[in-house]
Symmetry: C2
Subunit: 150 residues, 2 copies
DNA sequence: GACCTTACGATAATGATTATCGTTTGCGAT
DNA sequence: ATCGCAAACGATAATCATTATCGTAAGGTC
C-alpha cells in the first residue's frame, strides 16, 4: 500500500453517480498533478468559477479514493493530501518538502519486507504506510517556492 | 527514522527542568508500555490523583520527544500516539489495530532501501516514515478489547 | 532567600474533518 | 418527456486533537 485507503470496503451495489462536482474535483486534481489538500482544491475550484461546497470536495475525494482514482498521503500536521493515481498502479511517493514535487518510487523491496514481517510476527492483515520526504534537486540549488506552478 | 520527530532542533543551551509533572508523564507512559494518546495519558494521570493540565501533558510529550525519550506514531485519524523509546534505539513498530499491542520490528532493509532511493532520485535529506499495522495473534482468535490492560 | 527563567494550566483559538438535514439531481423505468 | 427515489449536494454546526495566550507558580543558581 504505502498510502492510506479505505480497507475492506466489500462491494458497492450502486455505482457512484457522475456529477458535475465530482468531475470537477477529479479534473482539478489532474490539473494540479502534485499532492493537494482538500481546502486548496476547494479554493482552486471556486477561483475557476466552479460552484461547489467544501463538504462535497471531501466527499468526492473519499469516493475517488474508494474507487481507486486517487491516492492519499498525510502531512506531518495530519492534513491529508490527494493526488490522482497513476495508471500503472504504483503507490509509493517521494515528496519534496520544499516545493511539493512528488516522484513515484520503486518499492517492491518494501512490499516484500512487509510481508516477511507479517509472517515472522504472527500478525494478520498487515498494512504498511511508507512515506518518503526530501529536498529535490531543483530546490537544493535554488530554494524557490514553485508551489503554485505544480 | 520511521517515527515522527522534531528534525534539526539545533541545540538546547538550557536543559529541560525536572518537574513533578514531566516525571509523572514519563512514568505514566512507562506504566502503559503500549502507544498511548495524550488525552488517554491525561485521563490516566488524573485518575491516579495526579493534578496536571492537558496542555502540560502535550508539552511534556514534546520535550520528551525532542530529548529522544519517546517515539511518536500517527493514527489514521491523525491522532498522535506516544510510547517510551526502548534503550536499543529501534524505531519501527508493528501495531495491532485491535488491541494496540506494538512490536518493535527489524527494519534495516527499509533503511537501506530509503538510502538507495535518495541516491537514485537526487533528493537530499530524505526522511522516511514507515508504519505497520495488523491484527496480532491474540486478537485473531478472540477479538477482545484488551485496550485498557495494555 | 532573591531573582530570573522555565514551566504550568485554565481557557480560548485553530484548523482539518465529519455529521446533520433539508434540498437538489442523476438516471433507470414508465 | 416525466416520475420516483436513492444518491449527492451544501450550508451550517459539531467534533476533536492540538496549539496559542498569558498570568501565575516554581526550579535552581547566586
Amino acid at each position: 500500500m504505502g498510502v492510506l485507503h479505505d480497507a475492506m470496503t466489500p462491494k458497492r451495489s450502486v455505482p457512484p453517480r457522475s456529477t458535475r462536482q465530482r468531475q470537477a474535483v477529479l479534473s482539478a486534481l489532474h490539473a494540479r498533478g502534485a499532492f493537494t489538500s482538500a481546502r486548496d482544491l476547494h479554493e482552486a475550484l471556486e477561483a475557476d468559477g466552479v460552484a461547489i461546497g467544501l463538504t462535497t470536495v471531501y466527499r468526492a475525494l473519499h469516493v475517488l479514493n474508494r474507487t481507486g482514482r486517487v491516492d492519499v498521503i498525510r502531512e506531518k500536521t495530519g492534513e491529508r493530501l490527494y493526488r490522482p493515481r497513476p495508471e500503472d498502479g504504483h503507490r509509493h511517493y517521494l515528496v519534496c518538502r520544499a516545493c511539493g514535487l512528488s516522484k513515484v518510487v520503486e518499492a517492491d523491496a518494501v512490499e516484500r519486507w512487509a510481508e516477511n514481517v507479517a509472517e515472522a510476527t504472527g500478525f494478520a492483515e498487515v498494512e504498511h504506510t511508507v512515506e518518503l520526504t526530501g529536498v529535490c534537486g531543483d530546490c537544493r540549488v535554488g530554494p524557490a517556492a514553485r508551489d503554485s506552478a505544480g
